[in-house]
Amino acid sequence: MQQSFFSLVFSADWAPSEGRFGFRPYITGSLYVTLLSFLFTLPVCLLSAIYLTRFSPQWLIRIMHPVIDVLAGLPSVIYGVWGILIVVPVVAGTIAPALGTSSSGYSILSGGIVLAIMCIPYILNMLIEVFRTVPAGLIEASLSLGATRWESVKHVVIRGNYPGIISAYGLGIAKAFGETIAVMMVVGNVVKVSGNPFDAAYPLPALIANNYGEMLSIPMYDSALMFAAFLLLIIILIFNMIFRYLIHKTKKQ
C-alpha cells in the first residue's frame, strides 16, 4: 500500500499495524520543541556573545573557553540525565502549578529547556567568531561620534552582522532539530498534536530511536521510519547548506 507524500506529512493518523502512517504529530512535536529551545537560546547567546567580545575582562574570556568546550563536549545522554533529575521535577512541581495547570513534567517545555542548554555553547561559539570579525575601526568611529558603548554594539556589531547572527541561530536550530536521546528522555513520547507546552510530545528522532526494534515485524514500518530519517536529513541538510554558505561569506569579508 502506498501513500502520497502530502498524506504522509500532513495526516495525523498513526496506525502502523493497519498501514496508516501520518507524521503530523511527530513533525509538529519536533518543531514545537525546537521553537521553544530557540526562544530560550535567543537572548542568552546574543547577550553573552556581546559581553564576551565587547565588555568582559580578559580573565573571563580565558575561563569561558574551557567552559564552552566542556559544555559542548558533554554527551547528550548526560544532559538527559540532568533533565530528568532537575528540569522535569521543576516543571512538574514549580512552573506548572505557578501557571495554574498540572503536568507530569515530561513535557515539551522540559524538552525545550534541555535542548536550549545543549545548543547554547554551540551557538555562542559561532556568535563569538562572527562578532570577532567586526573591525575595531568601525566601533571606534561610532564611539568617536558620541555613541555610548551599548549604542555602538546595537548599531554596528548587531546591525552589521545580521547574516552571521542568523546563520549561527539557523545552525543551532538544525542541531536542536536532530537531537535525539536527551529530548527523548524528557519529552514524554506521547503521540498527539497539542499546543500546550505542558503536554508530552513525540519528536521525529525519538520515533526512529524508540521503534527500531519492532520495525521489521510490521510491513512498511521500516520504510516509514526510514522516511522519518529522510525528512530529518533533508530538513537539516538544507538548513546547514544555507547557513553555512552565509557564514562562509561573512568570514571572507
Partner: protein, 284 residues
Amino acid sequence: MRRIKIIEEKIFVFLSAFMTYSLILVLLFIIGVIFVKGFNALNPDMVLKTPRGGYYYGGEGGVLNAIAGSLYIAIGATLIAIFIGLPAALYINVQLIRHRKTQNTIRYFLDALWGIPSIVYGAFGFTLMLFFGMNASLLAGIITVALLISPIMVRTFDEVLSTIPRGLHEASLALGSTRTETAFKVIFRQGFPGFITAVLLSFGRGIGDAASVLFTAGYTDNVPVNLDEPAATLPLAIFFQLGSPIPEVRERAFASAVILTFIILLLSFAARYLAKKYSRTNLR
C-alpha cells in the same frame, strides 16, 4: 537624553554579564548534580564487574561491559577516522593549496556532513548493516561511529592546518622536498597539536554518542571479544538503566553517568594540556 542612554547601557551590560556568568554556573550545576547523585552508587564493582544475574532487578555487578564496549567502539572508530581524516586534511592543505575554491567547497560539504544528526547516521548504518546481512555488532557500531566522527576529525585538524603560514610550505618545497614529504614531515609536525585536539575531540564524540550505536551495536551483558559480537555502550547503559522502575538500578544509571562525565572531562583536559605542550616546540 544622555542619561537615558547611559541607563540603557548599564541595564544591558548588567544583563549580558548576568547571562555570561550564569553559563558558568549552569556548567557547574550540571556536573555537580551528576556527581552528587552518582557518588552514592559508585563503587569499585561498578567499574570492575559485568552485570551478574538479576543485575537489572538490583542484584550485584557493574557496567564493565558498557565501559569496555564504549572504549572498543570509540577507539576503533577513531583509528578508522584517523586513517581517513589525516590524509584528507593534509591533502586539502598541501596539494590543494593553490585551489582556494576547491578547498572552500570541500570544507563547506564537510561542515554540512558535520551537521547531520547522529540518529540519521544510525539509520544509515542500520540499512548498510541489513544490506550486507550483518547483525548488530561491534564492527557495525565502529563503522557507523567512524562515519559520524570522520568529518569532525577532518575539519578540526584542517582548521589548525589552514593557519600554518604559507612560507613554511614554500621553504620546504624550495629545499627540494616533494609535496608528500612536505605534508608528512613539515606540515603534519607543525600541525601536531591540532591533530591531538582533533583525535581527542572525535574520540569524545564517539564515546558519548548514543543515537548512532542504538541500532548498530546492539546490547549485551558480556564484554565483546570478537568484532561480530554485539557490544554494550555507556550512553545506552545509562539510558536503559534510567528507564527501570527499581530505585537501585536508577541509582546505578547516575553512577554510570558519573563515569561517562569523568571520561569526557578527562579527555577535554588532556586535549588542552597536550595541545599546549606540543605547540611549545612549534615554529612561530
